[in-house]
């Protein structure tokens, strides 16, 4: 007949060596104390790292800003193009060839 659970008691089926839990408590206590003391020491280091990152960002921003300004330009007089040059430039290759081979006989007498 199965016992009531209260009759089973409070013993756990897994056991630990004698003194194990006491030593574990001591060990974790010291680790916790060490953890909180090193945490206090690293805070300034983090602050320095954050400040360095911000400074680097500012420097990079400054470099980008100053390097993107327009180069100074030299004023150049606008070039004028003659009407004849403009006409010749606009001729197609075929038209230019016909001009080159123009013969006197083709001019009608008047």
């Amino acid at each position: 007949m199965m016992k009531d659970y209260k009759e089973i008691g409070k013993q756990m089926p897994f056991h630990e060596e004698e003194g194990y839990v006491e030593q574990l408590v001591e060990r974790t206590t010291e680790k916790a104390l060490a953890h909180t003391s090193t945490k206090g020491k690293t805070l300034p280091l983090r602050q320095w790292a954050a400040a360095a990152a911000i400074a680097l960002l500012l420097v990079m921003t400054g470099i980008w800003f100053f390097s993107s300004e327009d180069e100074p330009t030299i004023a150049v007089a606008p070039q004028t193009v003659s009407p004849l040059d403009q006409f010749l430039n606009e001729l197609s290759d075929e038209d230019a060839r016909q001009l080159t081979y123009y013969e006197l006989e083709e001019i009608p007498e008047y």
Partner: protein, 186 residues
């Protein structure tokens, strides 16, 4: 008299931990007084030996970091148990997938229990722990604190944030389920 002695010890520890020069000494005294109880409470929740060590470490760090926030409202032991319970639940939650409940870890915890049970462990003790692991986490928590740690419902309410009536109901359902499980598997 016992209550007065406990109060004196608590006040002594609290005085020490709030004094920067005596904080470390006070914390050592605190863990010496409560450490073993907290370990077994955690172990009953997370089952695994290595898991319990990790959770105890996290618990102690949390306690140390939050000592300044403890104002003496409510019992010191309930405050310590609450931190330990939260760390144990966080540990279990990290083993679940997204949207998965902690309760779904039961098969994995049973497996862990069987793996860590001593060869000379009594079969009935193992069966009892398996019965507990079938309970929803909140019922298991209420049962453990009431049965193993012998805390009052008022203290358990402080730890869990549940009302006394809810806890009594949880405990009642837990005991019924355990009895049924033991009957079916005997």
């Amino acid at each position: 008299m016992k209550e007065m002695r406990i109060d004196n010890e608590r006040n002594n520890v609290l005085e020490m931990v709030t004094d920067p020069k005596r904080r470390d000494e006070g914390f050592r005294l605190l863990t010496k007084q409560y450490g073993e109880r907290l370990y077994w409470h955690i172990r009953r929740m997370v089952v695994g030996h290595d898991d319990a060590e990790d959770v105890l470490q996290e618990t102690f760090i949390k306690i140390l970091n939050h000592l300044s926030s403890y104002r003496g409202e409510g019992s010191l032991s309930a405050w310590l148990y609450r931190i330990a319970t939260n760390e144990a639940l966080h540990h279990l939650r990290r083993q679940t997938r997204i949207f998965q409940s902690i309760d779904s870890l039961a098969p994995a915890l049973v497996e862990k229990l069987e793996a860590e049970t001593a060869t000379d462990g009594k079969a009935v003790e193992l069966l009892f722990q398996k019965a507990l692991l079938t309970l929803p986490t909140q019922q298991r928590l209420a049962f453990n604190l009431r049965y193993y740690d012998e805390l009052s419902y008022a203290e358990i309410a402080e730890i869990s944030g549940k009302s006394v009536n809810t806890l009594k109901t949880n405990y009642h359902y837990a005991t019924e389920k355990i009895k049924e499980y033991l009957k079916e598997h005997s």
